[in-house]
């Protein structure tokens, strides 16, 4: 860290703020998409299931970076819609990670005991009431561990926006690298920054999980050793299923 001046640190810290914003906004859009598409995939009409399945396959099938290029370069040329880079990035990240998230929502809804659904029908709850009063409250805690993994993938995915000129951490690092003329210190620093952000994200999600589990009367898991703490990813049963998100 020989000659990293205050100004250069400032560039990196501004980048951290942009990365945090990107992560939060994309996560909000992604969560919205995930819930809409995930619930639509359990709809009784086949056409709704088909369309939401199609959305999921298309956005999961393509690469997040290619999608981002498409929104940045093709949308303005082909349709005349020019988005502010920041929002184009949020749109691309939210739409693609929302597609991965929809699988989490669908899986968690499917994991609620069928008798719960039947009880709702027997009590003549409307489909909307069954969803919001019976299914989602029970499915919600199940979604959090895989959602945490996906959020970390999203955080890693935000680095892609630097390619398109949004001033996130990685973009700031490129500037600092040019100013310093050496790469090792700055890239080491930002890798550590990303790791810390991922760690903080996990801490927040663990707290949310504890609250959610307490809400349906389940005890939080115990015995968190040092190694377990370092283990940022939460082991879901289908290790390598949800987190096959990639795209980061």
């Amino acid at each position: 860290m020989t000659d990293l001046t205050a100004g250069l640190w400032g560039l990196l810290l501004e980048g951290v703020w942009v990365t945090v914003q990107l992560t939060v906004f994309s996560a909000a859009l992604g969560a919205f998409v995930a819930f809409v598409v995930g619930v639509a995939r359990t709809h009784r009409l086949w056409i709704v299931r088909f369309l939401s399945g199609l959305y999921m396959e298309i956005f999961r099938g393509t690469s997040a970076l290619v999608l981002m290029f498409w929104i940045f370069f093709v949308l303005p040329m082909a349709f005349g819609w020019q988005l502010v880079p920041m929002w184009a990035a949020v749109l691309a990240l939210g739409l693609s990670y929302g597609a991965y998230g929809s699988e989490i929502v669908r899986g968690a809804l499917a994991a609620v005991a069928p008798a719960q659904q039947e009880a709702g029908i027997a009590l003549s709850f409307s489909p909307w009431q069954r969803l919001t009063k019976i299914l989602l409250p029970q499915a919600w805690p199940e979604m959090i561990p895989p959602a945490n993994n996906l959020l970390i993938e999203l955080l890693k995915g935000t680095a892609l926006v630097s390619v398109l000129g949004v001033g996130d951490i990685t973009f700031g690092a490129a500037l600092v690298r040019n100013a310093l003329g050496e790469s090792a210190p700055v890239y080491t620093i930002i890798l550590v920054m990303y790791f810390i952000l991922a760690f903080l994200l996990t801490r927040v999600m663990r707290a949310v999980e504890r609250k959610a589990k307490a809400g349906i009367g389940q005890a939080p898991e115990k015995g968190v050793g040092v190694l377990r703490k370092l283990n940022i990813r939460q082991q879901t049963e289908t290790s390598g299923d949800f987190s096959s998100a990639g795209g980061a």
């Binding site: 370069f73 093709v74 790469s183 990303y194 990813r233």
Partner: protein, 216 residues
């Protein structure tokens, strides 16, 4: 919305060059990821703390930081240390290293899934460690995790455009170059996007079929 089929035709030769590079990166990257992941997974089960802890720390670090930044690190920092690799080689190493930390988790789950009785039987027969792993544990563990490994190959495919950023001309890199010379971004980028879906969707169907066959 203007769609120019002649631009698609002009792009096609470059596109196939790009496909070739993408597949190269994918195959070589997967080989590194499969081999290195197995090493990580076995090291994480080592009885020695000095082996276990650093490996856990390093794999967690690599897994939770962006691949793009790791690629920049490899591409810019290694030459400062006197190792100069081509863009494609850097990309392959980066993809392989990054995904090895994911495959390590997959192997770990597979190894954990082997019943304890199998380990005990090895001890009872006093098999050496190499035979225990090579003839008993790994064949059972790996069979189970093949579909999960395949899913990571698909994920790696979708991350492969990142190596275009350090200058390896895979599909997206070719599209960018084509755009730079013709100012027609619509056709090449759309073609590349569709190509990803056309490769990734059948591949994921294949993995689901494999999963039904291999995992009971």
């Amino acid at each position: 919305m203007t769609w120019d089929w002649s631009a698609v035709g002009d792009f096609m030769p470059r596109f196939w060059d790009g496909v070739l590079v993408t597949l190269q990166a994918l195959v070589l990257g997967s080989l590194i990821a499969f081999a290195l992941g197995l090493i990580w997974a076995m090291a994480q089960r080592s009885p020695l703390k000095v082996v276990r802890w650093p490996v856990v720390a390093v794999t967690e670090f690599i897994r939770n930081t962006p691949l793009l930044v790791q690629l920049f690190f490899l591409f810019y920092v290694l030459p400062e240390w006197g190792v100069t690799l081509s863009a494609l080689t850097t990309g392959v190493v980066g993809l392989g290293l990054h995904y090895s930390t994911y495959t390590a988790e997959v192997y770990r789950a597979g190894i954990d899934g082997v019943p304890v009785g199998q380990w005990e039987a090895c001890t009872a027969l006093s098999l050496p460690r190499s035979r225990t792993w090579g003839a008993v544990i790994l064949p059972q563990a790996i069979r189970r995790v093949v579909p999960a490994l395949g899913n990571y190959v698909i994920a790696m495919l979708k991350d492969s455009p990142m190596i275009a950023v350090i200058g390896a001309l895979e599909m997206l890199g070719q599209a960018r170059q084509f755009t730079a010379s013709t100012f027609q971004p619509t056709e090449p980028i759309t073609v590349v996007g569709i190509a990803f879906i056309l490769i990734a969707y059948p591949a994921s169907l294949l993995m689901r079929a494999l999963e039904r066959r291999l995992v009971r």
